[in-house]
Symmetry: D2
Subunit: 425 residues, 4 copies
């Protein structure tokens, strides 16, 4: 009881002065002060293991020492902080490094657009350019997709609570079944039928937009074969393929781009979150040169030139100079999978189901409200993780990619304990 009171006092400023829209500060009612690697500490000095990574923004961990140093050095030299899309040295160096370390080795040819520093801005720009170059307006998105909160991105987002928040109907989009969305049914056949029939009521779309692993939608990982077939549909009907790699990209699934194992080449790729290295706002839209038909300033924004982010972003790309980082992620992913399977087996009451790919995994808990209770209990015990899915039914594992075995084991132990506690009630 005493704890609760203290906790309430701690949060008083937020409750009194901030809007009712605040969410994470409700589930994790403390004031955080410090962070390093895969750990955070609050103002009371309590330590937390991070299985959340800023919703996928802190793939390289908190306060990477190298990035910190480069940022500080730049500030001390009176480097340009804000530059819209003017030329600056950090922008130039980031562009060159991205080309050299990421695009060229993967045999990818994209023009880089800085669309404003948020993921939703990248998605909005991707939809715009796809509509412009095709002259069509419809976009196919998928069930349980999440692409952002501004009206364009919301229109391709599945979640009804978030859609309803728009306050206006959302148009120019068709929602199609993601991979094995409907049991025993073939979503590819379904999509193809609608496209081939001129009487289907679904217009030939400008683009198909997808996440290879749906992060907010319940850690639904598309099969590589399904992704290949979607790409084939795009090629057959001359539809642009947009991969929203905002959460699943930047190494989250084991490769820099999440779509690499499928061997596909999207026409447009959206990146944000961890692209800024250390959690600073930044986003990119990658566009195949033949589709880069923008007029100058046709999509713009004030914070396209966040130079501190460019500096950290360039340092982050160093992780990708060799294959080592990628193979480490995959090893850790296997370890997670083993632990998750054990937990599911240990607690049949969860009616649990393992989901995901790479370091983007989850346990779907098919009992109402249980996933939320588990996360709450874990927070109390020093583990930060959140739920996902249309009914918050999935416990989601999204640790910094630099987490070590000790961190994983410790976090999983807290989780195990939390589940036991919740189920014992």
């Amino acid at each position: 009881m005493t704890t609760a009171v203290i906790s309430n006092n701690k949060m008083e400023t937020f409750e009194k002065l901030e809007s009712a829209v605040r969410s994470y500060s409700r589930g994790w009612p403390t004031v955080f002060e410090k962070s390093k690697g895969y750990k955070l500490w609050d103002v009371d000095g309590k330590e937390y293991i991070d299985f959340f990574a800023g919703a996928g923004t802190l793939n390289y961990g908190h306060n990477d020492t190298n990035m910190q140093e480069k940022i500080i050095e730049y500030i001390q030299q009176d480097g340009i902080l804000h530059s819209l899309d003017m030329g600056t040295t950090p922008r130039k160096e980031f562009l060159e490094t991205f080309q050299e370390v990421i695009l060229t080795p993967r045999n990818l040819d994209y023009k880089v657009m800085f669309p404003g520093p948020t993921g939703t801005n990248s998605v909005e720009s991707a939809l715009k350019i796809a509509r412009k170059v095709t002259g069509r307006d419809t976009v196919i998105s998928f069930t349980n997709a999440f692409h952002g909160m501004t009206i364009g991105s919301l229109s391709v987002t599945g979640n009804s609570f978030k859609r309803h928040g728009a306050g206006v109907p959302l148009h120019h989009t068709v929602s199609m079944p993601f991979d094995d969305y409907v049991e025993d049914q073939n979503s590819i056949a379904y999509i193809e039928r609608f496209l081939e029939d001129s009487g289907s009521g679904v217009a030939l779309p400008a683009a198909i937009i997808l996440e290879t692993v749906q992060g907010e939608g319940g850690i639904n990982a598309a099969r590589m074969d399904w992704l290949k077939k979607i790409e084939r549909i795009c090629r057959r009907w001359d539809i642009l393929l947009i991969v929203d790699d905002i959460q699943a990209g930047c190494g989250r699934t084991g490769t820099f781009f999440s779509f690499e194992p499928a061997g596909i080449k999207p026409d447009i790729v959206c990146l944000s979150k961890s692209i800024g290295g250390v959690g600073l706002p930044m986003a990119l839209t990658l566009i195949k040169p033949e589709y880069d038909k923008w007029g100058p300033g046709e999509h713009n924004g004030t914070f396209r030139g966040n130079n501190l982010a460019f500096i950290a972003a360039k340092e982050a790309l160093r992780f990708w100079e060799t294959d080592q980082f990628s193979s480490e992620i995959q090893d850790k992913a296997k370890l997670y999978k083993v632990k998750i399977d054990k937990i599911i087996a240990k607690y049949p009451e969860l009616n649990g189901e393992a989901r995901g790919r790479g370091l983007m995994q989850g346990i779907a808990v098919h009992v109402d409200d249980l996933a939320s209770k588990i996360c709450t209990k874990a927070f109390e015990r020093g583990l930060i993780l959140e739920t996902s899915g249309p009914n918050d039914e999935v416990v989601k594992f999204l640790p910094p990619l630099i987490i070590d075995e000790e961190g994983i084991m410790k976090g999983m132990a807290i989780l195990d304990d939390s589940i036991a506690q919740v189920l014992s009630k």
Copy 2:
């Protein structure tokens, strides 16, 4: 000629790797490296006077020393950099300082929402909550308004090039004449007539959104009396008044909020750009408590917790602890006005017209392409300023508010000289 070749080489990376959407780097073809106060330097060591201020983002000047120190100190302490909307110390301190220094002294009562770090995100959230609390979908915006590039914000933006870029029709909005938009016509009478008549074809709107000075639309400053009448219309028909103070706020016109001299109290206020102090991405949506009807997470975003921005933002609020800063801005504004009037008088060929308010002024040049040519010439001579207006017909003055008399005089001298050069051809 040699210079041109060098310049081209300098920009090669951007031209080769970046999308065709880039704009400022075309008009100002150099690579910037350093900045302080109201000055920038490029990689060749050339100095520029800044009459642009990051499009209104650098009201407190480049690299404010105090803000630099606080940011560096925070990073060195491994402070949380990225926190979504979790509680952190900088968020808490910013909220408290904003309440104490800005809201309370102005007798304003708003809940503070962090909607994502861009202006357009603030506008999107404002439109959403206005639609939610009223249950209506139409929003009235104004001719030559600019509110952002995501679909919701674009729908209340006037510029046809930018609207067309949406690739889809933009709905749920009605464009009304801004102040004296139609010569010799009373825009208030029009708006009232449309609202009072149930057969007008214009539905009762959820909100009226406006900029008190239209920055992108041509430095059109609304008269205080017109703003008062708009507020009266909102009260009479129970319409929410949204002031988009993203460019005109944070002291740009002489007071913290641009609407203060009109004595109005908007229901919702959008802030971004200079709120982050030193050019770091940040935005706020201020909502009267009675309209703060959000569900938790109903509008969210990854970069709502840019703690470096919170730290700089808090320091920036210190400028507002006394009235001195405000009165200095107004003095500088007068100086600008004097210089502008002189230039207009000196060069009748410009067919010039003075516009604006505070340190947000402009010269409308009623000769095709002339404004752009002047800005290009000024850049060559070390002055950064851009055009504005539907046909880029306005030379826009938007210096850092901390500029001194020397800076103003020097910049204006370059401008004078540039105009002379352009006209002599």
Copy 3:
């Protein structure tokens, strides 16, 4: 009281079996049985003078003897009744007569489209073809316009009750002020300003649609000069001009087309109501040959071939073989105007205002509900006339064009008496 009970019994079938949407049968609670010329009789043998003409559908009066005979003869010969858009003799003869009697003498060149037998179908087809040939989607309509109840036509209709009935937002249209809609303001200047400014927020429209006299919207007659200026705007910006002559056409204002006195040539004209001669469902869309870019069947409908209507329609065109009918209408119109002015002068309590043109006139009564009370009282006394306007504030005079002086005098006497009665309460 006894009367009321009897009347209720008479209406029982409608009240019990018909939908709540019924309207005229509420205001005129009787069962009509017979009609001829400008008179109707109900099942009780009560006689009514018709100042309503089926809302402008019975311009040639009820049961024109000649039309009756031709219809009966056709049926007796087993003529084709229903033919979609197949070739039939009545369709052929109507087309030839319409060309010869109406189009050629007026030097008008239009292709004739049969869009389905209702006015709203004509409007929907006009909007479609205008959007197709221009490739634009916006249509400018006017305050207090009424163009029909299907979604396309509703979107260009002003009335908020009817718009709200759509159940979905209505888009792709901009409502502009009709003629002198806002007192002392120049609507032409207003419209031109929005069109010439690329930052106005109003896209270049496909078409401007208007009624020269707004029937449902309050009998607002546009000045000829205003119509000319609207046509000039259309020519200047290459916008199609659509005149919806469904209610004001077919002689209602004194000439066959209502726009003839303005000397304008619309690109598209919508006709319905009295085009079918004797009240049978029929509609036309007239399209300048250069804009007749339909694909076969691109707009169709089951009842495009109502041959009984074609037969009556052809007979009706005989009225237009000389100028006599037109000049008679204008004489009667003058008589109405004299009587209306007298009534307004006689009853200052009405705060009355004369409106309209030709045999489409009205008295705007600026006292709440008074117009409706007057119409109710008149019905009891054997005069059928209805209200119009956004608040049902206009008593509307729309007699069959074939009415004679006796009918006018008798009807006006009943009206005078009814007003006296209503005011005396």
Copy 4:
């Protein structure tokens, strides 16, 4: 060749004066003059057997003698021809007869709305009231549905040519697979999954609208079991079920309403085409009393009171006083099916597939353009029938229900012969 020239001369008026939108007069290039029962004659006296029935409008045959007499008698008595929704004797008698002969015996309870005399008007009114009573805006329609050409009805229509003709995007609708639309896939499972998942991107709809047999979409007959399941979905999620029975109703499939054999009770039923008995424009919207929440005049239209149609409609209902008519239709349907199967067997080159139900049958011909060629050849030989389906791939049999065995045999012989001719080329 001579014939062709004559034929061209005959059609000259239509080609010269009518819009390019005309369609049937292109496929059947003659001028029709007379008709009776299941036969038509053109101006040259050539006789045609009618397997088309005015696209389902002439179920009771051409010029039914009894209906002719009643209509003539009414006209001769100066009966009211046009009455909007005023009370008239024919309206009253139709309402009472419809209640007595159709609704009461089938244990159906509907309020009758007269929405304007066309099918599309009935559909528009159905969508409006469904949106009003549920407060939702989305409507689920089906692949290859056809519901009309006005914007509201087009939005629930599948055909891309017709949708494209709208000139504006069509919204507020979701197209779902009709019955066995996707081979080997369960459309019910798809629909249920989309509805039960709050993250599906498909909002809870106001209504589901369907045709039990899709006439324009290719004579696709839904299975009774599928219809039952759709009704169950409607009940489970509180969605209104609208059956568009405009083409399949009025006995076309063997029962008055096409949905009777499925044992379902739609919330709203749209009727038009044959409801007017002899081809006169008329439509009804039947609404369960609990959903009849219209305000007076909220949906209206000029030609809601086509009294000649009411008179014929009342006579037509006599056909339904006993079960005989229904059982005759079913016998004829069987005869058609036998003949169709024979033709498919006889001409394997057609790759033919039998479709449909009752006297609404078809042969899908899976060879490009063959169906159209067959219909053209048949017309030359005196048989009128048209194609259907997204690619005009279905030869459609839609004879008047009163056709006799001789007519069927004779028509089928012509068809057989026409196919032989077409295939022999």
